[in-house]
């Protein structure tokens, strides 16, 4: 039976500076991307319908071709759709409208879209309208949630290890694990939704697993530093790859089916877990090695 082994990395060939440089540069670039987005748009990441308010319709359109269906949709509504997305290869389309800046009240707007869809002969499969005020309220709460979750995680990590440098290593890695996906969202044009917020929270819990494993192996177990690191790495890489595989499948299949919630959770977790591989085995390892050989000696 085919099997893979996690390759052993010869860490002795690289200095701590060299190891830490790559993840720190990536983190800096990610922060720049987010800062740039914030400077130009006033938001660290493009907020989606859940946070800006707007209406999303899922309609079945009876048309001979994809192009014709899209044309039918554009003609049917007086408002200009923000996006039209086909669900897989079916005749169902997800049409979104942003109410940003519009003076029409959300309630009335949704009602109008609903009746226009009906008049055009579309089969309305689902409709979701979010008021702008509700959206910004949700955004505030989501932000508080992410901050609270991160603070809770950091406090727990410090309580578990009770040493400064190793704990900081975990917290910095986890921070980078959520910053990099957010920057990637900006680059790839993925909007912030409730699903992506859930995924970011999930990442906070998920991504520290491999860091905890590494710290535990190096600090609490007997044996040489490199031996301990390799042992933790074999396990850690296996479990992160398993999760990446599962989440990638979920992201691909869910976007095919047009289930935005599951697709965005999957996508963000894939980004975050890949970032975690880099952060754990470059950044965290270098900080731990410095602590083990130099920090303790001082």
């Amino acid at each position: 039976m085919a099997r893979f082994e996690v390759p052993e990395v010869d860490y002795t060939r690289y200095s701590n500076r060299q190891l830490a440089a790559i993840p720190l540069v990536v983190l800096a670039v990610a922060l720049l991307v987010i800062g740039g987005a914030y400077a130009t748009t006033g938001a660290p990441v493009d907020p989606g319908l859940d946070f800006t308010g707007g209406t999303e319709l899922r309609v079945a359109v009876d048309a001979p071709s994809d192009a014709q269906a899209r044309e039918d949709i554009r003609v049917a509504f007086t408002a200009t759709p923000d996006s039209i997305q086909r669900v897989g290869t079916s005749d169902v389309y997800i049409v979104t409208f942003q109410t940003e800046g519009s003076e029409t009240a959300q309630n009335e707007f949704t009602r109008q879209l609903e009746s226009e869809a009906g008049e055009a002969g579309f089969d309305v499969r689902s409709i979701e309208g979010v008021g702008a005020a509700f959206g910004s309220e949700t955004q505030n709460r989501a932000l508080i949630g992410v901050v609270a979750a991160f603070a809770g995680m950091a406090a727990l990590v410090f309580a578990l290890f009770r040493t400064f440098v190793p704990s900081v290593a975990v917290v910095v890695s986890a921070f980078s694990d959520i910053i990099i996906p957010v920057a990637l969202m900006n680059v790839l044009g993925i909007e912030l939704t409730l699903g992506t917020v859930a995924a970011l929270l999930m990442l906070i819990g998920y991504s520290v697993d491999s860091d905890i494993l590494l710290n535990n192996s190096v600090l609490r177990r007997s044996g040489d530093f490199y031996e301990s690191t390799y042992r933790a790495m074999r396990t850690g890489v296996t479990m992160t790859l398993t999760s990446i595989a599962a989440m990638a499948v979920m992201a691909v299949v869910a976007s095919f089916f047009g289930i935005g919630l599951l697709a965005s959770i999957g996508t963000i977790l894939v980004f975050g877990l890949i970032a975690d591989l880099m952060n754990t085995y470059l950044l965290n390892v270098s900080l731990l090695r410095w602590y083990k050989y130099e920090g303790v000696a001082r």
């Binding site: 899922r58 509700f134 949630g145 609270a148």
Partner: protein, 521 residues
């Protein structure tokens, strides 16, 4: 080793099997079927699982209540009706149904302004002008008003025949969440959007400054009704209508007002309000949320019995509505009562999902879940190449989901897409921890003694426990009702539950299984 000792030795496996059996019972045994047709999903299914709105279809409306509240208002000995009237008199609308006063101590209480677009400044100005002292004014309504509103919404939904609907508060209590199995969003919205204050007024002429003009005089308020019948198609003559009766205590007053305004005129009245409101006999108007729903006159015999005072002995009559639909609306409003405070729909969300879409979501999420499990199984088999290690790993991870499904069926938690996402997350974290256990146990050569196994397992479990704790901490803000506003609560709750089941039951059991397979006694 006897059977008993084997079981005792592997008690973790026994516990897992017990949990699995229990879960299967909750899932499939008819005894645990959801009672009655409660909940938005009242359909026959193969399992006892309850499906939420997204998977079964229906409408969901979530909105805050409209209103501002003044706290610690000194009532100065007046009763609440008096306070309401005096404050309302200082408002532009002057409508006392927009003001709610409640005692919270013997001499003071809260005053709420619940009209649409009410601002804190409006209430401050009205209270100042009416001469009432107060401490603070804030957005939102009181708990009592919210509770009453929820009760009225529930009875409206029931009166409209939308059985299986639920109404509850979410967030920190300011939001109301309504879920009904009907996927016609407009219909549901219309039902809950109107406050449904119904009053019966007399439309009649008065002399004022030497000119004659028509005015409305309120005769019967919503709370004056004793009984309200269901909408009737009615025969010739009256047409669609709602039979009602007035409370005995109010009957004399109602009778007097009808006579004084001339509605109960000699020989009855002929109403031509809809065609020519400026030259009609006095009319009876049904006014719903400030607009006239229908107008009608009074027949001679009823007018006669009011004129000679007989009517007050048996104070009933019929509300003529013109159309059956309006009769139903008026009947629902009168029976359910008016909403104390309206819903600010523009500040909330409205969702409708058709039953067909719900079926699609259900099918698609099962496919996604199965594919995720297969992927995990594939990677694990590929990594270890040893079915003895990998097979129990996949089975254990899957059994976590079965236990969770059983739990969901037991507490009748409605499954939604976010719960499905939670299940998939549980499979992910579950396998992670099993990998930690397997690697740790098999590290550094063969496991040939139970003592070595135990010590390695314990070491592995420290990491598993720490990892579980961080996941729970990270997810708990989302699980708290205050933060999630309901949408992702299911995801967070089931992820946390999954982690707990994993740490307490399934992952230790995997350790036992692995030990049995790897140690040679």
């Amino acid at each position: 080793m006897s059977a008993w000792e084997t079981a005792k030795d592997n008690w973790r496996v026994v516990l897992l099997v017990f949990m699995l059996v229990l879960s299967s019972l909750f899932l499939f045994a008819p005894a645990f079927e959801p009672s009655g047709s409660e909940g938005p999903a009242a359909q026959e299914t193969a399992t006892n699982l309850q499906y939420g709105l997204e998977l079964s279809g229906g409408s969901r409306i979530r909105a805050p209540l409209v209103g501002v509240t003044a706290e610690a208002v000194q009532f100065e000995g007046g009763d609440t009706a008096e306070v309401e009237r005096e404050v309302a008199a200082e408002l532009e609308s002057g409508d006392s149904s927009d003001v709610i006063a409640r005692f919270s101590t013997n001499t003071s209480g809260t005053v709420e302004l619940v009209s649409e677009n009410a601002t804190q400044a409006d209430l401050r100005n009205a209270l100042d002008a009416a001469g009432y002292e107060y401490e603070t004014v804030r957005d939102g309504v009181t708990d009592e008003t919210r509770q009453q509103t929820i009760e009225v919404l529930e009875s409206k939904i029931n009166a409209a025949g939308l059985s299986g609907g639920t109404v509850r508060t979410i967030g920190d209590g300011d939001f109301v969440l309504i879920e009904v199995p009907n996927d016609d969003l407009s219909e549901v919205r219309d039902l809950v959007n109107s406050r449904g204050t119904v009053q019966i007024a007399a439309y009649h002429r008065v002399q004022r400054n030497n000119t004659t003009e028509y005015v409305n005089t309120t005769v019967i308020r919503q709370e004056d009704f004793q009984t309200v019948g269901t909408a009737q198609q009615g025969g010739q003559g009256t047409g669609p209508h709602v039979p009602v009766s007035v409370q005995q205590s109010e009957a004399e007053r109602v009778q007097r007002l009808f006579v004084e305004t001339g509605v109960a005129g000699q020989g009855g009245t002929e109403c031509t309000y809809s065609d020519d409101p400026q030259s009609t006999d006095p009319c009876i108007l049904i006014i719903r949320d400030g607009s006239v729903v229908s107008s009608f006159g009074m027949n001679p015999s009823l007018a006669q019995s009011m004129r000679n005072g007989e009517w007050a002995q048996d104070p009933q009559f019929i509300l003529v509505t013109g159309s059956f639909e309006r009769a139903q609306q008026v009947s629902v409003d009168l029976r359910a009562g008016a909403l104390p405070a309206g819903l600010a729909l523009d500040e909330g969300t409205a969702t409708a999902i058709s039953a067909a879409q719900g079926e699609d979501f259900k099918r698609d999420s099962v496919i996604i879940g199965l594919l995720a499990v297969l992927t995990v199984a594939g990677v694990v088999f590929f990594r270890y190449g040893d079915p003895k290690v990998a097979a129990p790993m996949v089975v254990t991870a899957f059994s976590e989901v079965v236990v969770l499904l059983g739990f969901a069926a037991f507490i009748q938690y409605p499954l939604d897409l976010s719960v499905i996402a939670g299940f998939i997350a549980v499979i992910g974290t579950g396998v992670d921890d099993l990998v930690i256990i397997a690697d740790e146990v098999m590290a550094e050569g063969d496991v040939n003694s139970r003592r070595v196994f135990q010590s390695r397992f314990r070491k592995a479990f420290w990491v598993v426990g720490a990892a579980a704790a961080t996941t729970i901490v990270a997810m708990s803000p989302l699980a708290s009702p205050w933060l999630s506003l309901g949408d992702l609560q299911g995801f967070a709750i089931f992820t946390i539950l999954g982690v707990l089941v994993g740490v307490l039951v399934t992952r230790p059991a995997y350790g036992d299984i692995l030990r049995a397979l790897l140690t040679d006694r």
